[in-house]
C-alpha cells in the first residue's frame, strides 16, 4: 500500500529547476493534491499531507525519456539472444518488487525499477511495428511504475508508400489515424524511409531522391508525406525520424537535407485535453524530431577518414526553429543495438562480426539486433563518443536537444548520469578524452568546446524539452498547476556543486533522494518503496469518415497478403492498464473545417 493514499504532499525549501515555468534554482515549495500540482493546500489538507523538506537539495520534475527501446518484439529478442547479458546482472525480489535480470536489456520489471530509481517517471518506446503492437503493449503493461506510450513505425508501410506515390495525403492520414486507434499508438516513427522496404531485396537507398523498388517512392516523399499527415491530424508530437544512411561515414548531409524537408510546415497539435499551466509555451515548435543524432552526424567518406559531421549538422539546426534532436550518445561499455533499420544492422554485422539477428515485418517494416561493446581504445568508438556530446553542446538552444543513449543502442539509460557529468564539466570530458583513442579530439571539435551545461540546461534536456517535444507537456516535464505530481529530489546543493567531480555528479544523479510519482514516493535513494501501475498514452485521431471508408476498402483488399486474420490485427483494450487515450482532430473541429471549405 502507498504510504500516502491521498496523494497530497508538500515539497518544501528545495532549489527548483522547472524550465517550462522559467524557474532556475529558486527556493520554492511545491504542493500536490490528488496526484496533481496545485497552487496551495488548505490548512486541513496541509496537516494531512506528506511533508518533504528538500532544503539544500535540487528539485526537478520527474524525468521524461522521449526515445528508448524498452518494450516489444525486438527488445525481447535482444534479451533472448544475449543470455550472457543476464547471468551477472540479477535483481533479487523484495516484498513489493519482482526479481529481474539483464544488463544492457533488462527484463521489464527491472527496467521500470531502474528508471524510477534514477528519477524518471515517463518513458516512451521508440519503435513499435504495427504487427508487434500486441507484444509491445504486453511488455508495457508489465512494466511497473512508469507512464508509457509507443511510436508506431510507418516509414516503409505498404499502404503509406502506395498513398504517397498516388499523392493522396488524405487517405494516408486516414490510414494513420485508423492504425493509431487500432494499435493504441502515440506518435509516427519513420525508420530509414524507402530503404527498409528495399532491404527485402537485399538493397537499401543511398539518397533522398532514389525511388525504391516496386513502390517507386522516395525517402523525401515519405518524410514530407508523413510530416504532412502528422500536422493534418494534429498529433501531439511531430514526425520522429530515424534518417537514411544511419551509421555510415558522411551521413550528416543526408540528415541535414532530411530535416530541411519539413521546414515549410507549421507545427499544429490539435489535442482535445486540458493543459497544465506553464509560463513558457508547452506546445512543440518542431515539425521534425530527429532520433539519435549521433548515429547520423558522421563526416568523412570511409572508416579511414571517418570524422565528426556534428559541427555541420549543428550549424543548420542553429539556423532553424523546426527541429529537435535526441542525442543517442555513447557512454562506452556493452550495448545491444536494436533498430527497425534492418540493412544498418547488417552493415554493422559485416563491420564487427558480432552475433546479430534480422527480421522482416511483412508489409510494414523490418528490424535487426546486434551485440556490441563500445571501447575507449577504438578510434571509431572514441570519435562516436565525441560526436554524441557535440550534438548536444554545439546546438546552442537547449530547447532543440534531448539527452539519450538511444537505449540500449549507444549505451544504457542507466548511464545517463555519466552523460550529465560530461555535459556539465569540460574537465570531465578532457579526462575521458585522455583515456580514449586520440581520434576522440582529433576527429571532432569537442576538444575546443568550453560550454558547460547548468542544472537548468540538464532539466531541459532530461524532462522539460523531452516532454514538450513529444506533446506531453500538457501534464509532464514541469510542475505548473495541473501538472502530474512527478518530482525528483536530488541530493545536490546547487550553491555548493563542484562540476569537476564527475563521480559526485554520477552518484547523485544515479540515485536521487526521492522519486515521486503522482504525489507518492516510489523510490528513496535508489530503493523502490512503492510500485504503482503507470498509464499508457495513445492517440485517437479523427479523420473524415468518407475518406476512412475508402481507405478501409484498400486495407481489406491488401489484407490477404498478411499472415494474420483481420480480426486478430487490432490490439484489444484489455492489453492496456490505465489507458489514457488522447483525442486528436476531434469531430467538431473537423466539422468546422468542412463548413469553412464549403463556405469558400
Amino acid at each position: 500500500m502507498a504510504a500516502n493514499p491521498s496523494k497530497t504532499m508538500i515539497i518544501k525549501n528545495g532549489y527548483l529547476f522547472d524550465p517550462l515555468n522559467a524557474i532556475d534554482g529558486e527556493v520554492l515549495d511545491i504542493f500536490i493534491r490528488g496526484g496533481r500540482v496545485v497552487p496551495s493546500l488548505s490548512g486541513s489538507e496541509a496537516r494531512e499531507a506528506t511533508v518533504i523538506d528538500a532544503r539544500g537539495r535540487t528539485v526537478m520534475p520527474g524525468g521524461v525519456d522521449a526515445h528508448s527501446h524498452v518494450a516489444g518484439t525486438k527488445v525481447n529478442a535482444g534479451r533472448l539472444m544475449r543470455p550472457e547479458d543476464h547471468y551477472k546482472s540479477v535483481l533479487k525480489r523484495t516484498k513489493i518488487t519482482h526479481s529481474g535480470s539483464g544488463y544492457t536489456v533488462p527484463s521489464v520489471y527491472k527496467q521500470g525499477y531502474d528508471y524510477a530509481a534514477m528519477g524518471y517517471t515517463t518513458v516512451f518506446e521508440a519503435a513499435m511495428p504495427p504487427l508487434e503492437a500486441r507484444h509491445t503493449h504486453e511488455e508495457m503493461r508489465a512494466t511497473p511504475i512508469l507512464d508509457m506510450g509507443a511510436y508506431m513505425v510507418f516509414g516503409n508501410n505498404w499502404f503509406i508508400m502506395r498513398y504517397l506515390k498516388e499523392g493522396d495525403i488524405e487517405r494516408a492520414a486516414a490510414y494513420v489515424a485508423w492504425m493509431m486507434r487500432t494499435h493504441k499508438a502515440y506518435g509516427i516513427k519513420c525508420v530509414n524511409p524507402a530503404g527498409v522496404e528495399n532491404w527485402g531485396w537485399a538493397k537499401n537507398v543511398k539518397g533522398l531522391d532514389e525511388p525504391n523498388i516496386h513502390f517507386e517512392v522516395t525517402s523525401r516523399e515519405i518524410i514530407r508525406g508523413l510530416a504532412e499527415v502528422n500536422e493534418l491530424l494534429g498529433l501531439p508530437m511531430s514526425l520522429h525520424l530515424h534518417a537514411n544512411n544511419l551509421g555510415h561515414p558522411g551521413n550528416w548531409e543526408i540528415a541535414r537535407d532530411s530535416l530541411m524537408i519539413t521546414s515549410s510546415l507549421e507545427p499544429d497539435s490539435k489535442m482535445e485535453l486540458e493543459w497544465a499551466e506553464t509560463k513558457e509555451s508547452a506546445r512543440r515548435r518542431q515539425t521534425i524530431y530527429l532520433a539519435h543524432a549521433q548515429f547520423n552526424s558522421y563526416g568523412g567518406s570511409s572508416w579511414r577518414d571517418f570524422c565528426s559531421g556534428a559541427p555541420d549538422l549543428a550549424k543548420y539546426i542553429n539556423q532553424t526553429e523546426n527541429v529537435v534532436i535526441d542525442s543517442g550518445s555513447i557512454p562506452f561499455g556493452p550495448a545491444t543495438t536494436m533498430t527497425g533499420d534492418g540493412p544498418a544492422q547488417h552493415d554493422l554485422y559485416m563491420l564487427t562480426g558480432q552475433k546479430w539477428s534480422n527480421c522482416d515485418v511483412e508489409m510494414e517494416c523490418g528490424s535487426g539486433i546486434l551485440s556490441l561493446v563500445y571501447l575507449k581504445g577504438s578510434a571509431v568508438h572514441a570519435t562516436m563518443w565525441a560526436i554524441g556530446l557535440e550534438v548536444l553542446l554545439l546546438i546552442d538552444d537547449p530547447w532543440k536537444t534531448i539527452m539519450t543513449t538511444d537505449h540500449p543502442n549507444g549505451g544504457m539509460f542507466s548511464q545517463y548520469p555519466q552523460l550529465i557529468a560530461w555535459l556539465m564539466s569540460r574537465k570531465a570530458r578532457d579526462d575521458t578524452a585522455k583515456e580514449c583513442h586520440k581520434w576522440a579530439y582529433e576527429r571532432s571539435s569537442l576538444g575546443g568546446v568550453d560550454r558547460e551545461m547548468s542544472l537548468y540546461d540538464i532539466a531541459i534536456l532530461t524532462r522539460a524539452n523531452s516532454a514538450r517535444t513529444i506533446g506531453m507537456a500538457h501534464r509532464k516535464g514541469h510542475l505548473g498547476v495541473g501538472a502530474d505530481g512527478d518530482v525528483t529530489v536530488y541530493d545536490i546543493d546547487p550553491k555548493d556543486l563542484n562540476v569537476n567531480d564527475p563521480s559526485y555528479i554520477i552518484s547523485r544523479f544515479s540515485r536521487p533522494d526521492l522519486t515521486i510519482k503522482d504525489g507518492q514516493i516510489v523510490a528513496r535513494k535508489g530503493e523502490i518503496v512503492y510500485v504503482p501501475e503507470g498509464r499508457r498514452y495513445y492517440c485517437q485521431p479523427y479523420m473524415d469518415e468518407e475518406v476512412e471508408k475508402e481507405m478501409m476498402r484498400d486495407v481489406r483488399d491488401w489484407f490477404k497478403y498478411y499472415t494474420v486474420g483481420f480480426a486478430n490485427y487490432p490490439v484489444p483494450d484489455k492489453y492496456l492498464k490505465n489507458p489514457v487515450p488522447i483525442p486528436v482532430n476531434v469531430p467538431m473541429e473537423a466539422v468546422a473545417k468542412e463548413v469553412g471549405r464549403w463556405q469558400r
Binding site: M81, P83, E84
Partner: protein, 268 residues
C-alpha cells in the same frame, strides 16, 4: 588459517547454490559464522548449516583449505570466483564447480558437473573422475570462455569442452564427445583419448591436440603437413602428428591449429 571441514548432512533434493563455499571467503570465520552463511535452494535462502556440518580443525596453515567429505553432486557453484586457497572434494561435485575462479586449487576426487571451470581466469581445477558438458567453456551467449588457469580431467569429458577457450589449458586423459574447442581463440586443449565430431568447429586461434581417433572430422580444416615430436610452448609431444589449420568455415584467415596423432596404438 584452519582447515575447514564440511560434511554433507544427507541427500539433497532441489539443488543448492553455494557460491559461498570458497576459501578466501571462509578464511577467519568461526564455525558458527560459516554455518550462518546463506545459500539458495530453489527460491529459498537457507543457512549453510542446514546442508553441512561445519568443523574447524588442524593446525594453522598458510592457505585456507576446505575439505568436503562426501558427495556434493547436488551442490552448485562451489569455489565460484575463488582467488586463493584449496578446496578438496572427496566425492562428486555439482555444476559450476570452480566457475570463474581466478586462483587457488580445487581437487575433485569424483566426477564434476556441467559448466565446471566455466570462464575460469586462473588457478587449477583437477577432476579425478569424469566431467560433464561445457566444462571450461564460455557461458551461453558469450564468445570468450576460459582465459587462464588449468583444468585436468582424469576421466572423460562430454560435449563442448573448452568452448570459446581464449587462454589457459585443459588436459583430458580420456575421451571427449561433440564440439570440443568450439570457437576456441587461444590456449591449449590436450585430449589423450578420442573425440566424436565437431572438434575445433569455428576455431580461430589456439591449439588442440588429439591423441586418439576422431569419428567425424570437422570439414573446415586444411592439412599443413606432418610433424614428429612437435613442441607447443612448454609442451613436448611424442609421436607423429598431422597438423591442420582452421576453421575455414568460420573465417578467411583462421589461426586455429589442430594436431591429430598418426601413429596410434593398434593402427598403422
Amino acid at each position: 588459517m584452519a582447515e575447514i571441514k564440511l560434511v554433507p548432512r544427507g541427500r539433497i533434493g532441489i539443488t543448492v547454490e553455494a557460491e559461498v563455499i570458497r576459501p578466501d571467503l571462509l578464511a577467519g570465520k568461526t564455525e558458527d559464522e560459516i554455518g550462518r552463511l546463506i545459500v539458495w535452494q530453489g527460491p529459498r535462502e537457507l543457512p549453510l548449516s542446514q546442508f553441512f556440518e561445519v568443523e574447524l580443525q588442524g593446525p594453522a596453515r598458510e592457505e585456507t583449505r576446505i575439505i568436503i567429505e562426501g558427495d556434493v553432486s547436488r551442490v552448485k557453484r562451489i569455489g565460484q570466483g575463488m582467488k586463493s586457497g584449496v578446496i578438496e572434494i572427496r566425492g562428486a561435485a555439482g555444476m559450476y564447480t570452480g566457475a570463474e575462479m581466478a586462483g587457488g586449487k580445487i581437487l575433485v576426487q569424483g566426477d564434476a558437473g556441467s559448466w565446471s571451470g566455466m570462464e575460469m581466469r586462473g588457478g587449477l581445477l583437477q577432476i579425478a573422475g569424469n566431467a560433464a558438458d561445457h566444462v571450461g567453456s564460455a557461458y551461453r551467449g558469450n564468445w570468450r570462455g576460459m582465459t587462464g588457469g588449468q583444468i585436468l580431467i582424469g576421466g572423460d569429458a562430454r560435449s563442448q569442452l573448452g568452448g570459446g577457450l581464449a587462454g589457459g589449458s585443459i588436459t583430458v586423459e580420456g575421451n571427449v564427445e561433440n564440439f570440443c574447442a568450439i570457437r576456441q581463440s587461444g590456449g591449449l586443449i590436450l585430449i589423450k583419448g578420442n573425440a566424436v565430431r565437431g572438434l575445433g568447429a569455428e576455431m580461430n586461434g589456439g591449439t588442440v591436440v588429439l591423441s586418439g581417433a576422431v569419428e567425424s572430422f570437422t570439414p573446415g580444416f586444411i592439412p599443413q603437413g606432418v610433424e614428429s615430436d612437435p613442441r607447443i610452448g612448454e609442451l613436448q609431444l611424442e609421436g607423429r602428428f598431422a597438423r591442420f589449420s582452421g576453421d575455414y568455415a568460420a573465417g578467411k584467415n583462421p589461426k586455429g591449429v589442430l594436431y591429430c596423432r598418426m601413429d596410434r596404438e593398434g593402427e598403422e
